[in-house]
Every structure is written in structure tokens, then in C-alpha cells.
Symmetry: C2
Subunit: 315 residues, 2 copies
């Protein structure tokens, strides 16, 4: 018999979804409250929930052998001070479509001059200024996992050229050109001629401030930086300076080093910055619960779990 802790702000939704799968041999406890979870922590061998909440009870979860994260980003559980003698799996493969909708909503909004047309309409002005087109333009992806692959597929649908920067993988056939190695070496070739640079890197020691002054200087002035990934990957002061100096055309930012973005942050007042308050891709219980259910069945069959996180690599 397994004992599962569900610890999430959506605990009751997850509880209902997992119960409806009629998994064998598992007793479920669900709560939104880390303190309540901690009180009975030693009894759980499985946990499923939000990394930021699980982190608070991790020291007390002494019997846990597998944790399934409801999020893609598991940074709170990667603190070296926490134990790592369990299997950690994260949410993958479910955010690509949402991320694609986010990135292409803003990319098409820019090409179609949506905000300019809105201003003309507000002024009662017939505005026949032509739109521009994504086809033939270049999209650069920092990171080509399942999310990057979904973005590449949509970019190809709209006739764009796709450059991809990854550590080693070249899994997506929708990427026209791959770049590997230190960005200090390949960043200039990767960033040159990009119309859009999209960052979907995980936040790890290796990716911290990967988007720095040097990379931003390698972009052409027409480039727009879109970050629906992780705030820690971006050197925000270098980005603010590049935007203020007009070295790049704009930025669409969903994530920040500090969230909520502090009210005195310069990004709030920059006309070429769009702020979307960490909503690009949300963990929806109906998408995420099946990941736990599938992995539980794998566990029971003695098979390797899907989407296991490498604590050293950080994703």
C-alpha cells in the first residue's frame, strides 16, 4: 500500500482527478497547507504537488521515494541543502501548446500592428498602414525541449526560419539550424539576424543570466526578446539598458527575477516592454494529473518514470 500526499493550491481538483483513475493500492491525503502536511509527513512514500509548497515539508517527508511536480520548474527542490535521495519527476510535454499560443499571440500582434491599429481606432482614424509578415523572419530559441519544439512547429507553420540553441540535443526537425557550446563562442552566430529571440530555458546554475549584455548586443536592433521561461535566465539590468538604448526593439516578459515584479521596477514604465505577470503557461489539473497517473502505473510495473529530473543538471 502506498500513501500519497497531494500538496497544491488545487489539492481538491487533483484529489478528484486521481481518485477517478481508480489507481490500485494507494491512500490519498490532499491539502493546500504545508503545515497540515508536515504533521503527518513521515507516513507518505509518494508526493505530488507544487515545488514551492513541497519544499517546506521536504525535510519531514523522510519516507518519500518519488515526488511528482505539478510544475515544469522545480528550482525550489534543487536547493543543495535538501535531500536528493528520491526520484523527482516534473511536468513536461503539456506546456508546449500554451507557450505557442502565448508567443505567437504577441508575435502576430507585433506583425499585425495590433496596438497601433487600436490607437488609430481610438482616434477615429482610418489607418491603412500595412501589416508586416512573419514569413521569412527568423526566430531563435534558447532551449529546444518539448516547449521549444512546439514553438518551432508553430514558427514553421507561419513560414519562419528557426534557430535553436541547446546543450546537445537536436530532436526537433522544425529547427533549421542548431547551435551548441558556450554562448560566449556561438552566441554571435546564433543571435545575428534574429527577429525574435524566445527563451524557454530552465533556471539552473548553468543558465543563470545566460541572456546577458553580450548576447543582447549580438541581436539586431529590430529584434524582440520574448521570455515565457524563467526570470533567472535573464540579466534584467542588461536587458533594461538594451531596451532603453534602442539596441533591441522590444521585450515581452512573463517571468522576472522577483515576482510579482516590484512596483518600482523600470520595466513597468518602458513603452517597448510588455508584462504578462507569469501567465504564459499554467499548470491545469486536467493536463497535469495524467502525468502522475501514468507515472504511478509505471512505478507499479517497475518501469522507469517519465520526465525524471537530474538534480545536478537541474532539469
Amino acid at each position: 500500500m502506498h500513501t500519497l500526499l497531494i500538496l497544491s493550491r488545487r489539492a481538491s481538483d487533483y484529489h478528484a482527478l486521481i481518485e477517478s483513475a481508480h489507481l490500485p493500492d494507494v491512500a490519498i491525503t490532499s491539502t493546500t497547507d504545508p503545515a497540515e502536511a508536515a504533521a503527518r509527513a513521515a507516513s507518505f512514500d509518494l508526493a505530488f504537488g507544487e515545488p514551492a509548497l513541497l519544499r517546506q515539508v521536504m525535510p519531514a517527508l523522510t519516507a518519500v521515494r518519488w515526488v511528482q511536480s505539478t510544475w515544469a520548474g522545480v528550482e525550489p527542490l534543487l536547493d543543495p541543502a535538501l535531500r536528493r535521495d528520491y526520484i523527482l519527476t516534473n511536468a513536461r510535454g503539456v506546456f508546449g501548446a500554451q507557450m505557442s499560443e502565448y508567443v505567437f499571440a504577441y508575435l502576430l500582434a507585433r506583425e499585425r500592428k495590433i496596438f497601433e491599429k487600436q490607437a488609430s481606432q481610438a482616434a477615429g482614424r482610418w489607418d491603412p498602414s500595412p501589416a508586416t509578415r512573419p514569413c521569412g523572419k527568423q526566430l531563435g530559441l534558447l532551449g529546444v525541449g518539448t516547449i521549444g519544439a512546439a514553438l518551432a512547429r508553430t514558427a514553421k507553420h507561419f513560414g519562419m526560419r528557426v534557430k535553436g540553441y541547446t546543450r546537445a540535443s537536436e530532436d526537433s526537425a522544425d529547427v533549421d539550424e542548431y547551435f551548441h557550446g558556450p554562448l560566449a563562442d556561438v552566441g554571435a552566430a546564433f543571435a545575428s539576424e534574429l527577429d525574435y529571440l524566445v527563451c524557454v530555458m530552465p533556471d539552473t546554475a548553468a543558465t543563470h543570466h545566460l541572456v546577458n549584455e553580450a548576447l543582447l548586443r549580438a541581436l539586431p536592433p529590430r529584434a524582440v526578446f520574448i521570455n515565457p521561461g524563467r526570470g533567472g535566465v535573464v540579466d534584467e539590468s542588461a536587458l533594461a539598458t538594451a531596451l532603453q538604448d534602442g539596441r533591441i526593439a522590444g521585450a515581452v516578459l512573463d517571468v522576472f527575477e522577483t515576482e510579482p515584479l516590484p512596483s518600482d521596477h523600470v520595466f513597468w514604465r518602458m513603452p517597448n516592454v510588455v508584462i504578462t505577470s507569469h501567465t504564459a503557461a499554467l499548470s491545469v489539473p486536467s493536463d497535469i494529473a495524467p502525468l502522475f497517473i501514468d507515472n504511478y502505473r509505471r512505478l507499479r510495473r517497475g518501469e522507469p518514470l517519465q520526465y525524471r529530473v537530474d538534480f545536478e543538471r537541474g532539469y
Copy 2:
């Protein structure tokens, strides 16, 4: 030897593009001015240009046997008072991608709450309200020619269900359900449960005011009407009433019965209407010139021309 009149506001662009094709046995005259064209009109056996300009010289083009329109819509040349004893071909197959970019820019802008997020940002407010998603939603197409087929393909890319209303054709495999026959009969079934209704019908006697009060009443209150097609297909006063009464959620309008849209038109002041000033799909010389060049070669080989317009049907 053929003598070709190019009559377009982009006459010099078209002249250069056609010259660069080195077509045999054709002398080219290009002008932006119908009066200049009329002065020498009787010498031309071929014409290539904008229907609104060509219409002015049509009575004088007594020797013309083929007219290639630079536009998709050829209404100005369909006036029954004008001669019809020549081959009229229009621009097709080149607007699908632009139309798809237009429709999905506004569709994704709505799903991603782009304007709401912009308002939150302007107020300096962190706004975690979740976006919605196109997947599973229903897109209805009034007209499934090459443009409708491109829209259907993009809709499927974003996981939508597609309903298509056509006279008879069922050419696009991306349409999940086709509807034919008078809208008075099938309109309710076609329109029910639509999230988006997109009109890409040509403007003909048969399609005049096809989008009328009855069709609008068949839409659910959540529906958004998008018209990048032709203004004459819509009963604008019925649309304004439906929008004012909240019977549909909004409209994105590129085309109107009178263009430019008169400054006193109620659409300008409606908060749930977007006006884009007839810019959804523009005839770009580099897209359109190849249509003429290909058809000229067909003419020389004695083959049927592509995209011939049926004067009676109107497209």
C-alpha cells in the same frame, strides 16, 4: 505581338517584375493613371491591374481579350453595364497566409487577453488572471476557398474544431463539418456553438447581406465575428444591434459597406469592435506578378488560364 496595359498604383513595381521574367512577344505600357491609359486604350489586347482603376477604362479597352486582376475581389468589373466578352482572372491562392496571420493575431489576442494585460500594465498592476485557450473551441468559416482552407489549417494547428459553409465544395480536409444550402435552412446548425465566425465570402449578388440578423441570432453570446472578407456580405445595422445588445461578444472588422468607414459610423465608438481599415491581406506585387506571368505563359501555350472568374457567379 501582345500589347499589355499595367494599370495600378504599383505600376512601376509590376512593370519591373514582369520585365524581369523576360516574357516573349509582349510590349508593356504601365501607368497609375486611368486617363493616360484611356488615351491609348484601343491598342491593348491584355490588361493587368486594379479592378477599380481598370473599370474606368474598360469601355475604351475595345481590343482586350484577357484581364488579370491584382486583387481577389473584382466587383468593379462585374457591373452588368460593362462588357463581359473577355477572360477575367483574379488573384487567388496568395492571400491565405496573410488572412491566417490576421485572423489568428486577433483570435489569439482575445484568448491571451492581450488588451486586458495591457491595461493592467498601464496601471502598474501585476495581473495573474489566466488566459484562455483556442483548443477545443469552434471556428466557423463562411466560405472555404483557398483563404478558408488556409484558415482551417491554422485552426487545426491550434486544436480548434472547424465548421465550413460553402455552396457545394468540400475541398479542405481541415474542415470537420460542412454545411450547404440556404443559410435560412442550415444557418442555425452552422452557427450554434461557434466561438468565432469568420467571413471570407466574395461579394456577389448571392452573398449580399448573408450575415444578417437571423444568422447573428443563431450565434452564442460568446461568439466573436471576424470579417476580413467583403463589407457587402454583412448587414451592418444588424451587426451593430447584435453587438449593442450583447447578443454576440465582439467583432473584428477589416471591411465595410463604405470605405473608408465614415467618421460618424457607430462602429468607431463601440468598445467590443476592432477596426483594421482594410489591411487584412494586401496585394503585394512580388506575390501577384507571378500570377500574371504564369497565366501569360499558359495563354501562349493555348492552355486554360488559372483563376478565371465566372461573371454570373461573381468569383
